[in-house]
């Protein structure tokens, strides 16, 4: 039986953050990102022998156009026992998202026409600034981190992308764009900052894919 939870409750908000990250990964790109605006309702249901399933009603916002929001329902199932299985996430968006083709194509063509592979560091910078040229690179990392977060979340974790420390474009002979990111993830319960590497593939028609990712060891303790 499903039990209604107050939306301010930490467990519900963690499930909501995970769902939002997953949805962003599935639907986002350098020209479009989604973030959780509000958790409207949450129910939790214990399924014997399987795990705990959260039923969520979320409001997501378009990161590039805060006035554009979309409601969605999501289900997050955290598996019992084995912590190495990513939670199952299902979702339904109330309506189709705004088309990002133009922004995607502008970015795609810009990167394709660079003479030297793109390299950048510290996005955002210490003051939270992201230059307009780096905004799609930032957004792409935001979207891809949704995958890493989904794959590594448990009921007791809440991850967010804290910063891109380094990004390097990897030249490819096919039509895909490839970026090697070193990011910092922030985990809310332990407050840890975790360095992570992710290799991200993208093409306007094929969406975002994380082909490799690995947790890095922290640099020499300070």
């Amino acid at each position: 039986a499903a039990m209604e939870l107050p939306p301010g409750l930490s467990a519900a908000s963690r499930a909501a953050a995970l769902a939002a990250g997953y949805i962003c990964y599935r639907r986002g790109g350098p020209g479009r990102g989604l973030a959780l605006r509000a958790l409207r309702r949450a129910c939790a249901e214990d399924i014997d022998g399987v795990g705990r399933k959260y039923h969520l009603e979320l409001e997501l916002e378009d990161v590039l156009d805060k006035d554009s929001t979309v409601n969605c329902t999501a289900e997050v199932l955290y598996h019992l026992g084995n912590k190495n299985i990513a939670p199952d996430v299902q979702f339904t968006l109330e309506r189709e998202l705004k088309n990002a083709d133009e922004a995607d194509n502008v970015f795609y063509n810009r990167i394709k026409s660079l003479e030297k592979e793109l390299v950048a560091e510290n996005i955002p910078d210490n003051h939270g600034n992201v230059s307009p040229e780096m905004e799609p690179i930032h957004l792409l990392a935001w979207v891809a981190s949704g995958y890493v977060i989904w794959q590594n979340s448990t009921e007791n974790t809440k991850f967010q992308l804290a910063q891109i420390k380094h990004v390097k474009q990897v030249k490819r002979s096919d039509e895909y764009l490839e970026f090697d990111y070193k990011i910092l993830l922030h985990e809310m319960l332990t407050q840890e900052i975790i360095p992570w590497q992710m290799t991200v593939l993208w093409h306007p028609q094929h969406g975002v894919e994380v082909t490799r990712d690995s947790r890095q060891t922290k640099e020499a303790p300070e």
Partner: protein, 419 residues
């Protein structure tokens, strides 16, 4: 914009006594591949000392060259005879540098007055400490600066005291920056301190509060950590105390208080971000506040400000049992959060720490509450994770502006409910 960045690089050179008198910057546009090759060749002639600010890439795309005065004639003849078109972008580089230096010095001088302090950017520790002195200078009958102790690395721990007189009036304690990476909090603290000072005598609520109560405001509660976020690691959270027997530095100052100290809502590992420390109040930064509040004896409210998550919380974090005043604190939080949302629509959640965020042991407000300070609250300011700790400076003033009515709600309530 790029010009300014390049100027910064030049200005750095200028400090080592290199001058650029009479140097010019030429914008050169090659119209064919051969001209690109020629331009590159120009760069290779060492005695000309041509400095490319923007390299020649392909025909039709401009290249920018800084040409030293002694090479100007030769370079211009070269360009003209090869029919490479160019224009003079900067007539005299040194003149422009001198201008810029003057402007920068002027802006530094202007910041000495609080009315021109840039509240919309993030500042260094020195800049904040200097600004505190100007706030006191500008409001000598209301604001004073006291030192409550020293940090681990011997930095002064300063508290701004807002008082219209009396002797040990009932007081409200505010702190920001206990976790150094939460830059929006120190920035909000500065704006808020300034707001309190300027609104006394103008806003009825602020005036009523300060006519009967004192406010103590510690803006940089963890100065060692804050300096470290500027110099070395923007993501540093803890103090900078050395841990015996470990390479890892620092204690989480919000797990170091004597309230549920050492429990599972903190870590016993010095390398952890939530390391509680060897014993309660081991950190000078924490002990200084403990001693101050105990010594004062009449503090009625403690408001400790953090980021991020957009939450307003009250005790407890170290246990799930509701605080005796849960109902009342919950109602007050609800009102404050509603008034905050009314400004720009920013949504906060609220409740006890343990319900809203996670079990946390040894926190500031749990200690305050267990030591008789009924109205103990903690804020988690913007945002909810999009930028997290790296909140853009453009959001400083909106964040401070929306938080103000919530703070005022709490302070006014404390005034109206003496105990």
């Amino acid at each position: 914009m790029r010009i300014l960045l390049l100027f910064a690089a030049l200005a750095a050179n200028a400090h080592s006594e290199q001058l650029f008198v009479g140097d010019q910057v030429l914008r050169v546009t090659a119209s064919e591949e051969e001209q690109i090759t020629l331009l590159r060749g120009l760069g290779e002639q060492a005695e000309l000392q041509v400095d490319f600010w923007r390299h020649p890439t392909r025909p039709g795309h401009p290249a920018d060259l800084r040409v030293p005065f002694h090479s100007l004639q030769a370079v211009k003849i070269f360009l003209e005879s090869n029919r490479i078109s160019y224009s003079v972008m900067i007539e005299d580089v040194q003149e422009l540098l001198d201008e810029e230096k003057k402007t920068m010095m002027k802006s530094r001088r202007m910041e000495r007055s609080t009315s021109t302090f840039d509240f919309a950017s993030y500042h260094t520790l020195d800049e904040i400490y200097n600004w505190m002195d100007t706030l006191v200078d500008d409001h000598p009958n209301l604001v004073s600066k006291i030192q409550i102790g020293q940090s681990y690395e011997n930095r002064p721990l300063y508290v701004l005291k807002f008082s219209t007189g009396g002797l040990k009036r009932p007081a409200i304690w505010l702190d920001t920056g206990i976790h150094s990476r939460e830059w929006i909090t120190q920035a909000t603290g500065i704006w808020t301190a300034n707001k309190i000072a300027t609104e006394y005598g103008r806003d009825p609520s602020v005036t009523a509060i300060l006519d009967s109560m004192d406010i103590f405001f510690e803006i940089v509660t963890n100065p060692d950590g804050f300096a470290f976020t500027h110099s070395s690691n923007r993501m540093w959270r803890k103090t900078r105390s050395i841990n015996a027997g470990s390479f890892c530095v620092g204690v989480d100052p919000n797990r170091n208080w004597d309230a549920g100290f050492g429990g599972s809502g903190s870590s016993s590992n010095p390398c952890s971000e939530t390391y509680h420390g060897p014993y309660a109040h081991s950190e000078r930064e924490v002990k200084a506040i403990v001693d101050f509040i105990r010594g004062h004896g009449n503090v009625k409210s403690v408001i400790s400000i953090h980021s991020y998550s957009q939450m307003l919380m009250f005790p407890y974090g170290y246990k799930t049992a509701p605080a005796p005043d849960h109902q009342e604190l919950n109602e007050l939080a609800k009102k404050a959060v509603s008034d905050l949302a009314a400004v720009y629509g920013t949504k906060y959640t609220y409740g006890s720490i343990v319900d809203t965020i996670y079990k946390a042991d040894g926190t500031t407000i749990d200690w305050a509450y267990d030591n008789g300070v009924k109205y103990s609250f903690t804020f988690e300011l913007r945002d909810t994770g999009r930028y997290g700790f790296l909140l853009p400076s453009t959001q400083i003033i909106p964040t401070a502006t929306e938080t103000w009515p919530a703070l005022l709600d709490i302070m006014a309530y404390v005034l109206e409910h003496p105990y």
